[in-house]
Symmetry: C2
Subunit: 345 residues, 2 copies
Amino acid sequence: MNPLIKGKATSLDIAHLAGVSQPTVSRALRGSPMVSEETRKRIRAIAEELNYKVDKNASNLRTQHSGTLALLFFEDPTPDDSQINPFFLSMLGSITRACARRGYDLLISFQQLSTDWQADYEDSNKADGLILLGYGDYLESQSRLERLVEQGTHFVRWGAVLPGQPGISIGCDNFQGGHDITVHLLGQERRSIAFLGHASNHYPEFFERYRGHAHALANAGLGIQPQLQVDAITTERSGYEAACSLLERGVAFDAIFAASDLIAIGAMKALHERGLEVPADVAVAGFDDIPMAGFVNPGLSTVQQDTKLAGQILVETLLALIEDLPAQSRTIPVKLALRRSTGAG
Amino acid sequence: MNPLIKGKATSLDIAHLAGVSQPTVSRALRGSPMVSEETRKRIRAIAEELNYKVDKNASNLRTQHSGTLALLFFEDPTPDDSQINPFFLSMLGSITRACARRGYDLLISFQQLSTDWQADYEDSNKADGLILLGYGDYLESQSRLERLVEQGTHFVRWGAVLPGQPGISIGCDNFQGGHDITVHLLGQERRSIAFLGHASNHYPEFFERYRGHAHALANAGLGIQPQLQVDAITTERSGYEAACSLLERGVAFDAIFAASDLIAIGAMKALHERGLEVPADVAVAGFDDIPMAGFVNPGLSTVQQDTKLAGQILVETLLALIEDLPAQSRTIPVKLALRRSTGAG
DNA sequence: CTGAAAGCGCTTACAG
DNA sequence: CTGAAAGCGCTTACAG
């Protein structure tokens, strides 16, 4: 460290030491072709020696963009600081990596759907755009999404891809997933399949899964029994409770399609407590393919969402939006991950 | 939106509209007592109406701090984009919440131990300090930690708390955890306990767990059998392979203490494949208490680390460091989470 | 209680 | 290829 410079070095310090003007330092360090090879090298060497790093606040202020994206997680309101939904954690991993690949930093924030969103990362120039992730009541959030669109905020959300939605959404093919797993259950000779999860437009992703499920049943000449659907949000506890309600209703069923793996895992616990065997008495399938699905006993058959691709597309789409390139909502294909809980694997 | 203002409103726009000077706007919005109640209200109303947000780049540049912390995850180098260690994900949750409570934003970044660290978040004024998280070869990273200290970077790391380490570390009581779980295994009448995990100063956390384990054995009048220790890093695959090596050695053992839950889960898989029953033939214990520990079959006995407290202390300690308050390394107590894999629960 | 002035550390026309 | 000038939008002495 040069003793002449107290505190952090600035580009002006480098300039003095290199015997050039401060703008030349700026140009050299950003690799501008307007600087001679020799000057660049000299400047780079000095910068390295002083461990000089361009002040992001200054350069962001000047260029008016931050090289940062913000990831907003919406959590179902839970009383305690409970675990984050494992599915979103895989998304987090792939989003982080996608950001890194494109040279962006990632800011993350956990939010409650109900409270005021800290959607002002962009307004305050801390981020160039937002990624919205999370389950929860969609109708509750819709008006806020509309406001984001109005204000010209750059954002993409992970969720159901439906016509007429504000902004851009990326989601997996929930309908197809619900359809395919139901076809699989039908192929295992199950005829009375319960659905655990909300099935209304408040929860459009679950609703799409339900609609795919119903479609497969209809194709097989089976009708919908309203008694076989129980509301649940995507927690293990909620799945446990939903399965209990279902059991209390006394309707016969030989399979459960849970709208998420956590719901399925909670349901398996309830079945186990009642002495019901999975899959002998009841086949169970979930949705997401969280890491735990392979570890529960028996292994949980489920619909696999490609989180790696999803994260990549979320980031790419948001960057396109920011750069004013064409960008659109997209649906990502799903595939089945079959295990013992449905008699497969 | 006021049609007279194109693009984002600035404090100067607000000042014009409110008929005051720009500094007064700045003061009013930060709640300075030097502004009359009436002026403040007027300014606040206008700011709200225009959806004005203070430009963070400008204010950070001026104040020279960012209100942001950076979380650096170090991953074991893995060929694919595999899952992040679930233990660190719980930490992430609690760190995020602790940051939010203190009004700090959180930047996250995944890094390889081997490559150059992007530890320059602070140098570039993007963050006021760093939180370092991750397993991996400690000796490989030590020199870099020393450089951080030299440069006066504010950082805390999660890891073993040992004398003579560069910087501040927060960690759980690995020694006590290794000791306690071994005492538990001894209480279950196990006498030949294998240890799966690195046991050297390259992996100080594991080494402490091992030392606690050895201490408990010694207290029980049992010696260490080097044949019963197998190296492993904290992945399921590594645990699986370590258990296989152990089995191939042909040494008798009636219990395994794995240095992490992932190792334990991999080991259980290997035992299962050989037709060995857990816990009847071999009791298995892990370390961490990741969510999966409760879901594998049989449930995994393990040492619980208090991630909620850990995240809180990491953030609080880092903030103390940044604010030049006294700060020091700390060890957090652990407790046992006993389940069926050791014949408990 | 309020305002005029300076300056945080960059990047980008503009001029040569 | 390089430099002098301006300005991004704030906050903070300083003066009144």
